[in-house]
Amino acid sequence: MKTSDGLIYLKIPSNKFFLGLVRKVITELAEKMDYSQEDIAKIELAVDEACTNVIQYAYTSEEKMSFKGGKDEAIEIKVNINPKRIIINISDKGKEFDFGSYKLPDITAHFKEMQIHGLGLYIIKNFMDEVNYERSSDGVNTLKLVKYIKK
């Protein structure tokens, strides 16, 4: 791969139907880099969980079950790659997420209470090297995921 950064841009309607497509694109990219199979699987899962959270929690329009998504209900995925790492920015214009007060759940207690919400972010935080959330002044949420290539 060239030493300069490569940028891949993907925009999908807020609909779970497209999760498989997103996973295919992300895994194919990661496979062209020097990631282990284990790390490719982790990146794939983290991106899926992040997009699922957007569809389920950030956007609430009933229209989201249509292939078009609701009005302005799109998810933008920008992937920046270089030989050292992959950065995946996942953006939406839905509800703000209170990332600061999110605490990694006690999974065993969650399990007993049959509350499994929050498991997605728990997986993202465990599987990616860096996870940051930002909300811009014009209402765009961006979750930034970074995974470095182990040498």
């Binding site: 899962l45 699922t52 499994i116 997986i123």
Partner: protein
Amino acid sequence: MEFERKTESDVDVILLKGDMDSHTSPKARDFFAGILKEGKKKIVVDLDGVKYISSAGLATLIEVFQKMHRYGGSLKLCGMNETTKGIFEIAKLDSIFAIYETKDKAVAAFSS
């Protein structure tokens, strides 16, 4: 997702095929709801045909486990690939579910 169901002695063996993500998991949940209505007490879920599972897939299996537990049933899992095993470990579910390497071992565990 696709589902195959067969009976081995008195154990119901469910073979799942396909990706278990938040798009496909509701279909799996509906499928299991039908089986649980029958009050089946011994179920093995074979994940050999599942190459990918997300937290939505885990949630579906957790739900089946808990519902069966309530009526005195028991669920055993088998056929996980390395990635799926890793996800179960990260979510600390490997200590809660009864997990076996193969379907035969999972079925045999019911009679031991």
